[in-house]
């Protein structure tokens, strides 16, 4: 009581101060915003300008045109690549979130005093080299790689399994592994926030463990699940390293075709239009997903 009074009081003081000091606040924020404007907003704006130009070389001239977007939407090959990228990412997102949920649940509710150790163990891969995690799968799934050579030396197969590498399957496996840590943390945070007394109340009122999970824990952790799904789906659709290293021609994704357009012989305006169109598609899908998930959560309540 005394503590909340004090914090309420100092909060009041802070408001009074903040009224005079807002300029200082904006001044503190401005260097960061300036750097982000230079490295993020300006480049994206220029990318948009490029996507409206007609020329195929790295020159900005002529009037605005939507020809590049017509090309992006019109050509069958690009549409197929879009669909494949979205499909691969959707499977990866589903697998990653489904695998991560029980793990996050374990850490939030049953890790006990070792919680901190578990959290560190799950955070380490999040910060370690993405390139190396993907590369590891290339040597595992390869024609003469870890799995094939192990199976052959054990006498289980006589010739290497070819379906392991250079197809959408290997891309899905690799991405699911590489992005695992991104899904655990948001789900863990939302589970951790759940008021434990709600669970006790449900038990007291006669809910069994499963009912209690479905009625309390799962709905309350949905923000974390949605966050995790977005954090995996949005970037994986544009992933470059994984399809390049383990995808082969059958596992190529949209980022591969974007980057090709920016080679010396490439078509920069077309590449810009491809990049922005893919981001727009993914953005719209992400918003639809969030809206649907929110509606579902509301309906469940």
């Amino acid at each position: 009581m005394g503590k909340s009074l004090i914090s309420g009081f100092s909060g009041g003081v802070q408001v009074a101060k903040a009224e005079d000091g807002n300029d200082a606040g904006y001044l503190l924020l401005s260097p960061t915003l300036a750097v982000m404007a230079l490295t993020l907003a300006a480049p994206l704006a220029l990318l948009f300008l490029y996507s409206l130009t007609r020329t195929t070389g790295p020159v900005l001239e002529g009037g605005a045109t939507l020809a590049q977007y017509a090309e992006v939407l019109g050509r069958e090959g690009y549409r197929a690549l879009f669909w494949r990228s979205l499909g691969i990412s959707a499977v990866v997102t589903l697998a990653t979130v489904a695998l991560a949920y029980p793990m996050a649940y374990f850490v939030a509710f049953h890790a006990g005093r070792r919680k901190f150790l578990w959290l560190i163990a799950l955070t380490i891969p999040f910060w370690t080299s993405y390139l190396l995690r993907v590369f590891a799968w290339k040597i595992i799934l390869g024609y003469g790689g870890v799995i094939n050579s192990a199976l052959i030396s054990m006498g289980l197969i006589s010739a290497p399994l070819e379906f392991l590498l250079y197809n959408p399957f290997s891309v899905v496996v690799t991405l699911t592994h590489a992005w695992a840590a991104f899904a655990i943390l948001p789900i863990y945070v939302s589970l951790e926030k759940i008021d434990r007394s709600l669970l006790e109340a449900a038990t007291d009122l006669g809910d069994g463990p499963l009912r209690r999970f479905l009625r309390i824990t799962l709905p309350l952790s949905m923000p974390g699940v949605i966050g995790a799904a977005l954090l995996v789906f949005v970037p994986t659709t544009g992933d470059y390293v994984t399809p390049t290293l383990v995808g082969g021609p059958q596992g190529a994704m949209i980022a591969n075709i974007i980057s090709v357009q920016f080679d010396r012989v490439g078509n920069w305006p077309l590449g810009a239009a491809l990049a922005l169109a893919s981001m727009a598609v993914v953005g719209v899908l992400a918003m639809l997903f969030v809206a649907a998930a929110r509606a579902a959560a509301k309906a469940a309540r």
Binding site: V15, Y26, T32, M36, L47, L132, G238
Partner: protein, 265 residues
């Protein structure tokens, strides 16, 4: 009973996270040039070859430079923005945070190419400095997230007490604010450094002729004969990352634990 199954699942999940990556160090000590079972014998020759490679050493030095500069600058930017966001009531804070966090949701290939276009348009030559620019865009959101968490647990009355006791603003900062923020700052420095040090794709587009270590690593993948040496390099990068991340996590959570206990209770 249910807990036991969850524990088994958690252990299996951890194995799934770590085992694939552990093949890198395993085969980096294998005597055969081929990445295949059965293992043929123990050797350190790939490491010897690695450290005799001057191009690798140059790339390592490039990566260290880029990482240190990126870590310092992004942590500084994160510190200023975190203070502004947590200690002032500014209009548009949510929009600003959303904007700064945007790189998390944009594919790296787009970030790299867009910045490359801008640099080409203004005729700015590619160098390690342009890699730093790209990495600032990627690392500043991380620094901000780590530091905001630290500021939110920050008791402003300590600063007020310092001011009441007659310290001026500068001394209050050095004797109260800075020591309290130090764990957050250290964690931010370590995490932004390792993010920059490990980052490949943006550096690939922006590094020009000065390869960073991941770009060098990528260029070596074309030569099958170099694969064991590449594995040795990968194993060392992994080791460095793990050490730094553990350090960062331990520092970051120091002093936060008591707060967590009150939340849990």
């Amino acid at each position: 009973m249910k807990n036991r199954w969850l524990l088994v699942y958690a252990a299996a999940y951890l194995a799934f996270l770590y085992l694939p990556v552990l093949f890198l160090p395993l085969f980096s000590f294998n005597a055969s040039q081929y990445i295949a079972f059965p293992l043929t014998g123990f050797t350190t020759q790939w490491y010897t070859a690695l450290f005799a490679d001057t191009a690798m050493l140059q790339a390592l030095s490039n990566s260290l430079k880029v990482g240190v500069v990126t870590a310092i600058l992004s942590t500084l930017l994160g510190l200023l923005a975190a203070k502004a966001v947590t200690q002032y009531r500014l209009k548009g804070t949510g929009t600003a945070l959303g904007f700064i966090g945007l790189p998390l949701f944009i594919p790296d290939v787009v970030l790299g190419i867009a910045l490359l276009l801008l640099l080409a348009a203004i005729g700015f030559p590619l160098s390690l400095a342009t890699v730093v620019l790209g990495h600032l865009c990627l690392c500043t959101p991380f620094a901000l997230a780590v530091l905001i968490a630290r500021f939110e647990g920050f008791d402003r009355s300590l600063e007020e007490a310092s001011a009441d006791l007659g310290e001026n603003g500068w001394m209050t900062f050095w004797r109260v604010t800075f020591p309290l923020m130090l764990p957050g700052i250290t964690a931010s420095l370590l995490l932004t450094f390792i993010t920059s040090f490990d980052e490949f794709l943006i550096a690939y587009f922006l590094s020009g002729t000065d390869a960073t270590l991941p770009v060098f690593f990528w260029s070596q993948l074309r030569f099958p004969a170099r694969l064991p040496v590449v594995l040795a390099l990968g194993a060392l990068i992994l080791l460095a990352s793990v050490v730094l991340v553990v350090l960062a996590e331990v520092v970051r959570n120091r002093g936060v634990a008591p707060d967590k206990k009150t939340i849990g209770a």
